[in-house]
Subunit: 381 residues, 2 copies
Amino acid sequence: MKSICGVAGVTAAGIKEGKYGLALIQASGNSAAVFTQNKARAPVIDLMAERMKKNRLEGIIANSGCANAYTGRRGMEDAIRMAEIGGEALGIDPMNIGVASTGVIGRYLNLDLIEKQAGSLSLSSSEEAEIQAARAIMTTDLVEKHAFLQGESFAVGGIAKGSGMIAPNMATMLGFIYTDAEIAQPDLQPILKRAVSRSFNRTIVDGDVSTNDCVFLTATGEAGAVPLKEFEEGLTAACIHLAKAIARDGEGATKLIEVIVSGARNESDAEKVAKAVVTSPLVKTAVYGQDPNWGRVVAAAGYAGVDFEIPDLSLWIGGGGEKTPLVQKGEITADLAAAKAAMRGDTVIFSIDLDSGDAGATAWGCDLTEKYVEINGKYTT
Amino acid sequence: MKSICGVAGVTAAGIKEGKYGLALIQASGNSAAVFTQNKARAPVIDLMAERMKKNRLEGIIANSGCANAYTGRRGMEDAIRMAEIGGEALGIDPMNIGVASTGVIGRYLNLDLIEKQAGSLSLSSSEEAEIQAARAIMTTDLVEKHAFLQGESFAVGGIAKGSGMIAPNMATMLGFIYTDAEIAQPDLQPILKRAVSRSFNRTIVDGDVSTNDCVFLTATGEAGAVPLKEFEEGLTAACIHLAKAIARDGEGATKLIEVIVSGARNESDAEKVAKAVVTSPLVKTAVYGQDPNWGRVVAAAGYAGVDFEIPDLSLWIGGGGEKTPLVQKGEITADLAAAKAAMRGDTVIFSIDLDSGDAGATAWGCDLTEKYVEINGKYTT
């Protein structure tokens, strides 16, 4: 299994017809969710924020092609109806259905299509089923996004979608994550929040914050109780796996960019610097062009709004044993030929040591290419 | 005259040899300056921040092709030497010379070239001279940027450069502005700061904050004392003219984007919303593709971090009598054909009414094109 169907108690199905897809997932258990921080969040997010207060889900219905965002009262009625359609298809109470939508903003849902699609699906726990569900929620995504992690005493599996409108400070995409661990309701939400803050919230494609992002986590409990710390580590690893998949599949992207910041005064400072670098259009275009213009990395660190001394900074390019130093304690040591060579692969890693503390953080992004412009210049027409 | 040489007491000269240009300007008077907020600001900015404490300039030397940024102690020594070269060329005290640099980060100045270029220049107050000075400071700029405004009792003239690494929260470019008005030292700095905050600081090309931005203002006083309010209005108008020229000449840009926000609780809120919209890569690519995907404008307003009610928002596209309503008090009224027609020209204007107060602000940007990626993918190599 690649993802959710590897978790005991989860069945799924999905269909994609042109731009319009529908996924159904069934799994009962204590649940938690995080939502976009955008003021202009979609009615479906308002609905879910309210209904998730009881921290329980028995299933999910998610469509692609239309975000049902900025659709006002009718948008809310349509989201409520979509929960009913999900409930009918799965034979469960609509109040326990998670609803998610992704696609164009400012258009109404085609509920007839959604009802027809939902009626056509039969759920199973096969690998084919999780693949169909992951495909159904794709928009400009080129590849499905799966994560599966088998811990000693529990499993975590998740699917996600996301390629554009990916930005910090929110949940940045759709993600449906399951575990067979038994986790009490009061523990689930803070654990999910921390895991998301260290994974999806550190993934930037274009810096645009979506109106519809949400991550749902359901713990079916079939594997029984597990150590919470171990569970949080496993969940975080699965979220990071999905987050990196989203960054690598960023609209038009040819390379994954990973920025590892160490030596910060605290984790928040480290995160700000890492995100500033992966967000910088100038860093992103330089990575695309394999141009070792490392001054742009330092410049981005400089405007991250974090207190550190520029003369203390060290910067490397490349990962593992192949790290090439560019700046060591403020002294330029750049071997531009080696730096250029380090940019040839499909992953470019910058490591930054601020030398002002012991905290660190990693962020992920992708390069900026002509293809991103092409994809987004003609999205609705 | 197009700009600075229209101001009594100003002479200029400039030379551009391939990537490497040098401008000299002579004008004595009370002066003020604003500098980049980037932590990784260049040594020359540190030098100028110190020397401008006496609020007096008699001349300026500025080079393009090398930013002399992230060059540490040697960078500072080179900046000091550049002031001396300017002082020798103009026959004035190097302590009263403004120095500015723009170009690649992390490389040392070619002082021999700068000295040779400075020695080759002879200053004059001709239109040709101001054009040469404006050209000398260009990097990826395609056009020179001039502003000239003749008030009732005074004139304001300025030149600027800027095309990439243009972002909010700083002075975003090089600008050299002159007036023949007589303005006392204590008044000059706050007036410049406000004018810059309402012009250059609201201009975004790519969201990257430069290491080297600065604006110098010198009041030669030859026109005598003038009403301060009138002067501030004139200076702000000249700065906005230059700011719009920078946005329109953004790297790879085909269109100027103007975002006019009204109905905000305060000017700062209005500015945040306007900047979020002009910064959004998704809005920028939609404008490039002439795709009336207005939902992206609402989404960007939604993540600007400002408190307003989405159902109160109204949005129009187009300027003057040609405004096409897209959203009126939260109701979608978009005529997509008319909206698409409003995107055909070289300027696209979005007007947003938040309906939560009486304050407003305008920001400027440009579209995001494949050309931006091409220019920045191969900048240093």
